[in-house]
Symmetry: C2
Subunit: 172 residues, 2 copies
């Protein structure tokens, strides 16, 4: 989030409210979760870190706004972020740990967890596909993001099949 906001500001200065909209536009339906407050929290932290500079701007027909622009140091940071090839959490670690825990504690049945999870992921997959079809503009990049989500969901659903094969039979 932090780096992404900084990068958007590197493209063009903006105030918080505007930045939030730009972020929402870049993410499409996926970004519907973001909290308004977070933007301002992050902006002030970026400013404290010297990556961004804020200037108060008075407006006649609207409340004052505070426009932020990147500093030289901030721009360096963006460039570094873009060149960083790390890739977020590629393993479904959490669910794997749930299976282990379910089997170990007897608080839940592993196979039942797998089934519930698959139903949930399939529900989401349908939702994502529905959203992808009903996306307005054809030049909208956020459709790509939906496609990425769908591919991952399909991979995860396939993984759950493997899990089921592995855990079926040795139920406790």
């Amino acid at each position: 989030m932090r780096d992404a906001m900084l990068a958007l500001l590197a493209k063009e200065p903006a105030h918080g409210y505007e930045l939030r909209q730009r972020l929402a536009a870049a993410l499409g339906p996926v970004g519907e979760v973001l909290n308004p407050g977070q933007v301002y929290v992050t902006l002030s932290r970026l400013e404290r870190a010297g990556l961004v500079r804020g200037v108060q701007v008075a407006q006649s027909a609207a409340p004052d706004k505070k426009v932020y622009e990147v500093t030289a140091e901030g721009r360096d940071q963006v460039a570094a972020w873009l060149l960083d090839s790390s890739w977020a959490k590629v393993a479904p670690v959490e669910f794997h740990l749930k299976l282990v825990a379910a089997a170990g504690t007897g608080l839940a049945d592993p196979v039942a967890l797998i089934d519930a999870q698959r139903r949930e992921l399939m529900r989401r997959l349908r939702e994502v596909q529905r959203l992808a079809e009903s996306q307005p503009a054809e030049g909208d990049d956020s459709v790509l993001l939906l496609e990425g989500s769908a591919l991952r969901l399909q991979a995860d659903i396939r993984w759950l099949e493997s899990c089921e094969e592995r855990w079926t039979g040795r139920a406790r």
Copy 2:
């Protein structure tokens, strides 16, 4: 992490050092990143939250250890965690934002980013597959986790193809 540790303690009480090993065993090669200090930080936070109870145990032939066991409230929490069907970040949001930022700022070329990322993911995929083959015990659950990683990596690589199609041609 927090919930997973709690769940492991729900199976059987343990002290920090032991818990770290159990966690490492459950995760296999994927879990090699975990920091020793984190375990103790998390245990004390769990204790503060009243989800576990720690008891000092003196040992003759080794340093004292502190054994933690779940409380009733902790056990409830584990059950709730197991039944919670949320699923971590299914969309490759960060990279998508990088592409948008690269195109917008001119600080990097989107297509070059995609190529670099694909090389990186393919490298990881090979690594994961190598690890899966060289796993010792055949009854080891952590192989499943590696399989999940591999499936996701393949999905992400396929997604990068789509990205490339979309971004090629409109290079700046």
